[in-house]
């Protein structure tokens, strides 16, 4: 065991994740548009990164030595915005402007507008390359920041990921830790049926990555994977995180329909009260 979260930290992460999940549901409902399933599945990973690990400061969002995070699966923007709000980068009140005209909170993240968003993403398959560039810049400048990225499992069907996979291993980007939010579902159905990217860990191993397989809703496991990755030299790390799409909202869990659908206001009230229980 490399490191462990204190009981107090575990409680905090749990509370933060709960707040993030409630905000995800509320903001998508208010927008009447957005992607709840893949936002909820990634909430525990983002909360662990931002509240137990990443060196970021809302008062200095452009600090050259900050850790970076690239949300390659940009449609999960609500989980990023909610986490950034929780961290103090954004006012909570702004979350309800998601996807509305004149809002900074675009349907997919726009780095120009929002402090704390390190890369504009949304067209799948492009985030890992950008994360590579940031990690490479860190190596060139001998800065000790780390770069994190989150990919979807369906997203792995995009070929650019595998170009980027080769690059990161070739240039030994050991300051790069990437998560796959392995929730098993994409828009048209189970990833295994639509166009199987399986087996995921074996593919990344074959590309020369250090691969760690975890339960993506277990804070200790997420935290330990992050710590282990920091000790690995000469290779990037891929954390294949088994997750549940819609996690935390019973009626959405493992339901492909909730990939890109907004709850009605009535459903939202019901969901939020169920989450209180």
């Amino acid at each position: 065991m490399v490191a462990q979260l204190t009981p107090a930290k575990l409680t905090e992460l749990n509370e933060r994740a709960q707040a993030v999940r409630r905000n995800i549901v509320a903001m998508i409902t208010e927008a009447q548009s957005g992607h709840p399933g893949g936002s909820l599945s990634a909430a525990d990973i983002l909360v662990t990164l931002y509240f137990a690990e990443m060196r970021v400061d809302p008062h200095s969002p452009q600090d050259a030595d900050r850790d970076r995070f690239v949300l390659s699966k940009g449609h999960a923007a609500p989980v990023l915005y909610a986490t950034l709000a929780e961290k103090g980068f954004l006012p909570h009140s702004e979350l309800l402007t998601l996807r509305k005209i004149d809002s900074r909170l675009q349907g997919h993240p726009d780095m120009k507008g929002i402090p704390g968003v390190d890369m504009s993403t949304g067209s799948l398959g492009q985030g890992l390359s950008a994360a590579n560039g940031m990690a490479l810049a860190g190596k060139i400048d001998e800065r000790d920041y780390r770069v994190y990225a989150l990919l979807g499992d369906g997203e792995l069907e995009e070929g650019q990921n595998w170009e980027a996979a080769m690059f990161a291993a070739h240039y030994k980007l050991d300051n790069l830790t990437v998560f796959v939010d392995n929730n098993g579902l994409q828009i048209d159905g189970p990833v295994a049926d639509v166009m199987s990217p399986l087996p995921i860990p074996e593919k990344w191993r074959a590309f020369g990555w250090n691969v760690i397989e975890i339960d993506g809703h277990d804070y200790d496991a997420i935290y330990q994977a992050i710590q282990t990755a920091k000790t690995v030299k000469g290779r990037p790390t891929m954390v294949v995180a088994a997750t549940v799409k819609g996690k935390g909202v019973c009626r959405m869990e493992n339901m492909v329909d909730w990939h890109g659908k907004a709850p009605s206001h009535e459903e939202c009230t019901l969901i939020l009260s169920e989450m209180d229980d």
Partner: protein
Amino acid sequence: MGKATREAYGEALRELGARFKDIIVLDADLSKSTKTNLFAKEYPNRFFNVGIAEQNLVGTAAGLAAAGKIPFVSTFAIFASGRAFEQIRNSVCYPKLNVKIAATHAGLTVGEDGATHQAIEDISLMRTIPNMTVIVPADATETHQAVTFAAQYKGPVYIRLGRMGAPDVFGGDYEFCHGKAVQLAEGNDLTIIATGMMVATARRAADELTQAGLSARVLNIHTIKPIDVAAIVAAANDTGAIVTCEEHSIIGGLGSAVAEVLVENAPVPLERVGVLDVFGESGTPDALLAKYNLTVADIVRAAKRVVSRKK
């Protein structure tokens, strides 16, 4: 024949490497052809070959720029503007990242490689993207200065370069001014507006037109975007007819850009010399230019046509 613009690019980059420590150069297995190998030899720690993977080439550059670097990426124009189009749009131009795309082997004069390698749509593709600057240098001198400009400018730039030696147009006293057309000859009967390697051809055409009793103004438009509206409108008002020349499809490139300016500001007869919405083929550069209507004679014919259309 002067130096190829790709050669001038490689030399400029090597020179700029000393001045701009943040310049990082990426290439996709074509560094000997794009001439980024000159930089690589001088600054091996700031050169990265990404292999034959243009999407990752552009995406990695976006990440480098997001972390404060000035990445120059090079490959053939067909792959830069085509294969990586959406990466340029979404990962570079949308976030307005400081990435320079120096695309070589543009146009038909790639030659024997044939249609698959002849980018005749790249100006069109690149100029349609918001936040993008598009530069097509005419010769080695202009290339050197355009590359220097790109290194200092903050934001995405696409520079279109050629494989073949380009006739020298400019002397040592030339000063590149971003977004400003360069008048190379004065005339009253029409204006020939050219870009890239066609600038030298346009000049020769103007000389020939003098023999035929027509005096042509010649404008070099090196910056396709943002285009010099004032110079085009002045040319229309002063000479009343325009011919555009480009080693590119007549759809979407310089000819289209000039047409857009003319119809909105100063409608006058226009003829476009360029590739007529067809693919190229294998052949020597000269044979291709002749077959696809990109010669002095083609410009002269277009000039006579356009003048005859004047009211």
